[in-house]
Symmetry: C2
Subunit: 340 residues, 2 copies
C-alpha cells in the first residue's frame, strides 16, 4: 500500500506511462496521437502500456494548449421535433467519423436563450457552431464574429450569412404551395404553422403565403392564420376552430406534415371530404404523407441532405479548406397527391 501521496490513486496520466515505458511524457503524447515521428515499435510499446494501465486521456488538458476541443455545438429550437432530430442525427453521423462530438443546445425558439447558449459554447471552445436560422440578437452576432469560430446557419437561407448558410428557401416554397392551392380554384386559404416570433423560417413562409394571396387578389383574413407547436394537435385544433366558428375555408396550407396529418385526421373524423370541400397541402414530405388516406399533397425537400451538407461544410471548414459554397439551397418540389 504505497499510495503516492494522498488517497487519489486513480488517475493515470501520460507521465505514469512515460515512467513505465522509460521515455519522456511528450513522446507518450505523440505516440498516443499516432504521430509519424515516433518509431513504430515505440509507439506500439507505449500503446500497450497505456492499455495495461487503463489510461484515459484528459481532453481538458489537451484543449488548453492545443485549442482544439473536437466538439461541435449545434443549437436547435427543439429536439423533439422530428425535423431537427433527424438533422442532428445526420450531422452527428457526418462529423462523428472524424472524432467530433456534438454538444447540443435547445433554444426553445428564443433568441435570448440562443445568445446564452452561444456564450457557453464559446466558453467550451467548441470548434464550430451550428445555428438554426438567421435571426440572432446583435450580441450573438458580435460574439460569433469576434470569436472567429466557423459558423453554419441552417434551415433558412440568407444572402449575408455569418459563415455558411445551408437550407431551404421557405418563402419560395410557401409561394409554390399557395399558388398550387389557388390554381385548384381555392379562395379561402388558411395557414397553420409555427409561431413566427424569433423564427425566420415561419416568418418567411407566412410572408410567402400572404404575398401570394395578395398577388392573386385574395384578401388575407387573420382568422385563417393559426399558429401553434409542430404537433398533430395544432392541425386538429385549427380544423375544429374553423368549423366551430363557422369560418368559410376551402383550403389549408400546413407548414409541417405533422400538422397536416392532424388536419387530415380531424377532417376525416368530421367527414369533411378532401379535396372536394377542403384541399390540404403540407410541408416536408414525411413518410406518413403518402401513407395517410387521402394521401397528402406536400412540399418535398431532401430533409436528410441538410444535415449531410452541414456536416460536409463543417469538416471542410475545420480542416482549413474552404466550404463548398457560402450559401447552399437544397431546393424543394411540390408533390401533388390526393388532398388537392
Amino acid at each position: 500500500m504505497t499510495t503516492s501521496r494522498r488517497a487519489k490513486p486513480e488517475t493515470v496520466t501520460i507521465r505514469d506511462i512515460a515512467a513505465r515505458a522509460d521515455v519522456s511524457p511528450i513522446t507518450v503524447s505523440r505516440a498516443l496521437r499516432g504521430s509519424e515521428v515516433v518509431r513504430p515499435e515505440t509507439r506500439e510499446h507505449i500503446a500497450r502500456i497505456a492499455r495495461e494501465l487503463g489510461y484515459i486521456p484528459n481532453f481538458a488538458a489537451g484543449m488548453l494548449t492545443s485549442k482544439v476541443s473536437s466538439m461541435i455545438a449545434v443549437i436547435v429550437p427543439n429536439m423533439a421535433n422530428s425535423i431537427f432530430a433527424t438533422t442532428l442525427q445526420e450531422i452527428g453521423e457526418g462529423v462523428g467519423e472524424d472524432g467530433y462530438q456534438l454538444l447540443i443546445g435547445c433554444s426553445d425558439y428564443s433568441l435570448e436563450r440562443e445568445e446564452e447558449l452561444v456564450r457557453t459554447f464559446l466558453s467550451r471552445q467548441t470548434d464550430a457552431i451550428v445555428l438554426t436560422g438567421h435571426l440572432h440578437t446583435p450580441a450573438t452576432e458580435k460574439m460569433l464574429r469576434q470569436s472567429r469560430v466557423p459558423v453554419v446557419e441552417m434551415w433558412s437561407l440568407s444572402g449575408a450569412p455569418l459563415g455558411v448558410s445551408i437550407g431551404v428557401n421557405n418563402y419560395d416554397a410557401a409561394v409554390t404551395a399557395t399558388e398550387h392551392l389557388i390554381s385548384r380554384g381555392r379562395r379561402r386559404i388558411a395557414y397553420i404553422g409555427g409561431d413566427p416570433s424569433g423564427n425566420d423560417r415561419a416568418q418567411a413562409r407566412i410572408q410567402g403565403y400572404r404575398d401570394t394571396l395578395e398577388k392573386a387578389g385574395l384578401d388575407f383574413d387573420p382568422a385563417l392564420l393559426r399558429t401553434g407547436s409542430f404537433e398533430f394537435d395544432t392541425g386538429a385544433e385549427a380544423v375544429s376552430f374553423f368549423v366551430e366558428e363557422g369560418l368559410d375555408v376551402d383550403a389549408i396550407f400546413a407548414a409541417s406534415d405533422i400538422i397536416a396529418l392532424g388536419v387530415i385526421l380531424e377532417l376525416n373524423r368530421r367527414r369533411i371530404a378532401m379535396p372536394e370541400k377542403i384541399a390540404v397541402c403540407g410541408f416536408d414530405d414525411a413518410r406518413i404523407a403518402q401513407m395517410v388516406q387521402p394521401a397528402l399533397t406536400t412540399i418535398k425537400f431532401p430533409r436528410r441532405e441538410i444535415g449531410q451538407r452541414v456536416a460536409e461544410a463543417l469538416l471542410a471548414m475545420l480542416s482549413g479548406r474552404a466550404p463548398p459554397q457560402k450559401t447552399c439551397d437544397i431546393g424543394y418540389s411540390l408533390i401533388v397527391r390526393e388532398t388537392t
Copy 2:
C-alpha cells in the same frame, strides 16, 4: 498598434481583468463565480470590467483543476426516434437550469459503439453518464465502475444497475398487451418490433410476448415475428408480408405506436377490418394513437416522465445527495380503444 507579443490579441483572460481592476487573478476568479467572500462592490467592479473586455471564460482551464465539466453525457441508440428525442429534450431542460450541458452520442444500437462513446465521454470528464438500457460490454461496465462517474440507465429496468435505473418494465408490458389480445379470442398473434440484438428493451418485450403465448398454450410461429426500424414502413411492410405470404394472422402487437400506425394505415388501405379481422395493439400511446381511425389500443406510459426522473436523479447525484431510489419503475397501463 502595440500588439503584446504575437498576432494573438484576442483572448481575454482573468489576468487581463485582474490588471485592469487592480486585484489579483484569484480574486477575479472568485468574483466571477459569485463567491460570497469577495466584497460586493469589488465583485461588481470586476463584473463590469469583464463585460467591457468581452471576457469569455475558458471551461477547459477550469475543468483541469476543479474536475467539474458541467457536461452530462447521454447515449441513445438513435436521436431521430421520437421517443429518445423527447427524452433528450426533457433531460436537457431538467439539468439545463443548473448549468449543465448535454453531450449526446448515438450508439446506433451497437454495444461496441457505446463502449467507444463511453470512453471518449470519460476523456471529456463529463460529470455524469446516461445510458439507454442495461446491456453493455464488459469493458464498458469496467470503465464506468472504475471511473466512479454517476451513471443512470434508462428505458429498461434492472435489479443490479450500474448506478440508478429508471424505466419501464418492458417484459410485463408485453405480457399485458399479449394477454389482452388473447382475451379478445385471438390465437394467431404477430409481433412487430425492433431488432433485439444489443437491445434489452426489445428482448424483454419479445420474451414477454413469447412467454404469454406459451402460457396460453399457443404456438410461437417465427414467421409472425417481424423486426425492423421504428418507422411507419416497418409496420406497413409487415402487414404486406403477412397478406402476401397468405399467413393466418388475427392480431398484431406492435412494439411502437409508429409501427402500429403503419399497420393501421396499411390495413385500411387493404380494407381489412379492425378489430374484426385483425386486432392491433401498440406501445407508447403517442398522440397519434387516439387520432387515427380506428383509434389504437396501446400500452401507455408517462413518456415525458422518464426524462424528468433522469434529470432529477442526475441533479441529486451531482449535488452529492443520494438519488431518490436505486430503481424507478415509471409504470404503464393498457389503454383499450377501437383496434381490439
